[in-house]
């Protein structure tokens, strides 16, 4: 997926101000930004739902502005809202979308099994919990074994078990070779899943890099050590570039005084705030 100087405006409001990035096959790009940053607009353009005002986007060699159904045949989209047919069963939902992709005999059971819904296949979606609906949304995005996946907040509001299940699926798809564009508010999720992250705010991209590089670039090479001295617990920071650092750490460890040791690398959240001046939430 190649995006070059992509622009879009809603009237006088500039939603995208010329963003550029790439995603390779098998890569997960975490797309991070607060509400109104331009994430959904980007996904709408790249999935062919919206024509850009400027720049270009190319997915699997197809120009996204060309409205070519061959592009949609190879992508999967998981929306933030649970837009499922509630009067239909989970299996019927998948079978219907399979037919739209030209798949006459979809193995719905296998897909539902992957998302842990095999035993609810014949139940109507209106009886599903929020987590089950989200997992069905993921299954729906996978009916055509897509080469590119667009996932908009796929774990928002889910319990930890459902979240883990969805994250495992995302990783499996990337391992299969799918390129994944993942938007999320969850920094830990982005950190855990993303090969690279992109910071988007007010329609502008502030950074596109691996989480590790960003943390190294914006954090401190130091460890924070909590030490017990008698009844008192104190903290001290040891810069890793200090020539004396290894001796100081070794002394603390050998004296048996260390309670905890943490690196002082920056979090993605703090880097986002530092770069954009905005909180990620809201």
């Amino acid at each position: 997926m190649i995006v070059e100087e992509l622009r879009h405006s809603y009237g006088a409001v500039e939603a995208l101000k010329g963003i550029s990035f790439e995603i390779r096959q098998g890569e997960i790009l975490g797309f991070l930004g607060p509400n109104g940053a331009g994430k959904s607009t980007t996904i709408k353009i790249l999935t062919g739902q919206l024509a850009p005002n400027g720049g270009r986007g190319s997915v699997l060699g197809f120009d996204v502005s060309a409205d070519d159904p061959r592009l949609q045949a190879q992508i999967g989209v998981c929306f933030e809202e649970k837009n499922l047919y509630e009067a239909m069963t989970g299996a019927e939902n998948l079978a219907f979308f399979g037919r739209l992709f030209g798949i006459r005999r979809l193995d719905s059971a296998a897909l539902l099994s992957r998302v842990g819904l095999a035993d609810r296949a014949d139940d109507r979606v209106k009886t599903y919990s929020k987590g089950m609906r989200q997992r069905l949304m993921m299954a729906r995005a996978l009916v055509n074994a897509p080469q590119v996946l667009f996932l908009d907040e796929p774990t928002a509001g889910l319990d930890p078990v459902s979240s883990d299940s969805v994250r495992r699926l995302i990783r499996e798809e990337a391992d299969r070779g799918a390129a994944v564009l993942l938007t999320t508010h969850d920094m830990a999720e982005a950190d855990e899943l993303s090969d690279r992250v992109a910071f988007l705010n007010d329609g502008e991209l502030y950074a596109v890099d691996t989480p590790e590089n960003l943390k190294l670039e914006h954090g401190r090479r130091a460890v924070r050590v909590r030490v017990r001295r008698g009844a008192e617990v104190t903290e001290e920071s040891i810069p890793l570039d200090d020539p004396d650092a290894s001796r100081r750490l070794a002394d603390l460890v050998s004296a048996g005084q260390v309670v905890t040791i943490h690196t002082e690398e920056a979090s993605l959240s703090s880097i986002f705030i530092e770069m954009t001046g905005r909180e990620l939430e809201g």
Binding site: T47, G48, Q49, D67, P69, R70, Q72, A73, I75, V77, F79, E81, N83, L84, Y85, E86, A87, M88, E92, F96, F97, R99, L100, F101, G102, R140, N144
Partner: protein
């Protein structure tokens, strides 16, 4: 699969999905069945005969004279003893009953074996009517609901009756009336209420389909499921075509089912089906507009009513004899209703109703195109 086959397959899948959703919507399924059963039941309950005789109660007239008045068969003259009785009959305080020996009895309850006589007006002839009918005054008794124009007309009729009863010629010689019957002359072959209601029943079924389809469309937009379809190889034109087909198939199927149930496909079932099919397509177009405008059940109901009321007017106008006003004839449903009346009731053929079929086709094209554009814009904007 080639491109055309792929498009047809996609449209077919969406149509099948829409019909399945429609079937599973308990409210609309219930209402659809209810309307079908109600219409079919009502049809068979309604009388299939036409009352062509006007019954008049008279006082002060000898029975032989009364019988003479009723000679032409259009009038049933019922002699009543007193003006008080006649007034009570017209006022519904008493009833006239015809006994098995053909005499008329005025009472509140029916005598044994008597049948009710519906007296619509009364005429009281004074005692000196036969000696000097030109100066005598005749009292005409009508219910308060009879409008003044009809009362004036009745006065004219009474004057002529007076001359006939007294054996006096009219003071002037009246020209012979020359009747020009517009349309098919149904004299002696009048259409019963049941037959008149057939197009109304068919149209009600189609309108019920309009409400159901608009609710389905509104839900598809509100739940944003249509967006999930549009990120597959399906195009917006496929979705719109599928909605049109699903609405038309469903409406057409229900209307034909009703026509079969009431045995009213007419002498030319293909022609009847052609009108019903075009009508179903027309209401699908209006369903697209109503479904795009309304956000929920109440919203679609509101916008559906905005279309339903003007579309229903021609159906009701078909119940009444005479030519419809120009503004009624300008309504989109008028050629559909008139076409159905002509084909089913008046047994018209293809050549007779080609113009009406063309007109309803043009309206259908206009409404469906409008629905297509409105729904497309709505989907693109959300």
């Amino acid at each position: 699969m080639n491109e055309k086959g792929s498009r047809l397959s996609i449209i077919g899948s969406i149509v099948a999905k829409d019909l399945r959703e429609y079937r599973r919507d308990r409210l609309w399924t219930f209402l659809t069945i209810l309307v079908l059963v109600l219409m079919a039941g009502l049809f068979w309950v309604l009388p299939d005969t036409v009352e062509e005789t006007i019954t008049i109660g008279v006082t002060g007239l000898e029975e032989t004279a009364a019988r003479a008045l009723a000679d032409d068969g259009a009038l049933d003259v019922v002699p009543v003893d007193t003006v008080g009785d006649l007034t009570a009959i017209i006022d519904d305080r008493l009833q006239a009953w015809r006994t098995p020996d053909d005499s008329v009895v005025v009472a509140l309850e029916p005598p044994s074996g008597a049948s009710k006589v519906d007296v619509t007006m009364g005429i009281s002839f004074p005692p000196d009517f036969f000696t000097d009918p030109t100066v005598a005054s005749v009292e005409v008794l009508v219910s308060g609901a009879v409008p003044p124009e009809v009362r004036t007309a009745l006065a004219g009729v009474v004057r002529e009756m007076a001359h006939a009863v007294a054996g006096s010629p009219l003071p002037v010689s009246a020209p012979e009336a020359l009747f020009t019957v517009l349309g098919e002359d149904r004299a002696g072959d009048q259409v019963s209420v049941r037959e008149q209601l057939r197009p109304l029943f068919v149209f009600l079924v189609l309108l019920m389909e309009m409400f159901a389809m608009s609710a389905l469309i509104a839900r598809e937009i509100a739940d944003r499921t249509v967006h999930a379809i549009l990120v597959t190889p399906a195009r917006i034109s496929d979705v719109l075509a599928a909605k049109g087909i699903a609405g038309t198939v469903s409406g057409f199927g229900q209307a034909v089912l009703l026509l079969v149930a009431i045995r009213s496909l007419g002498p030319s079932p293909l022609l009847t089906a052609a009108f019903v099919a075009v009508g179903a397509l027309m209401v699908s177009g209006t369903a697209m507009i109503a479904g795009s405008a309304g956000k929920d059940f109440v919203g679609t109901l509101f916008y559906g009513m905005i279309f339903m009321i003007p579309l229903m007017i021609p159906a009701f106008s078909a119940l009444f004899p005479g030519t419809a006003s120009p503004w009624i004839r300008a309504l989109p449903s008028y050629p559909l209703i008139r076409g159905l009346v002509d084909v089913i009731t008046l047994e018209a053929g293809w050549a007779d109703v080609a113009g009406k079929l063309g007109a309803v086709g043009a309206w259908c094209l206009a409404l469906f195109s409008a629905g297509w554009i409105v729904l497309k814009r709505k989907v693109e904007a959300t």
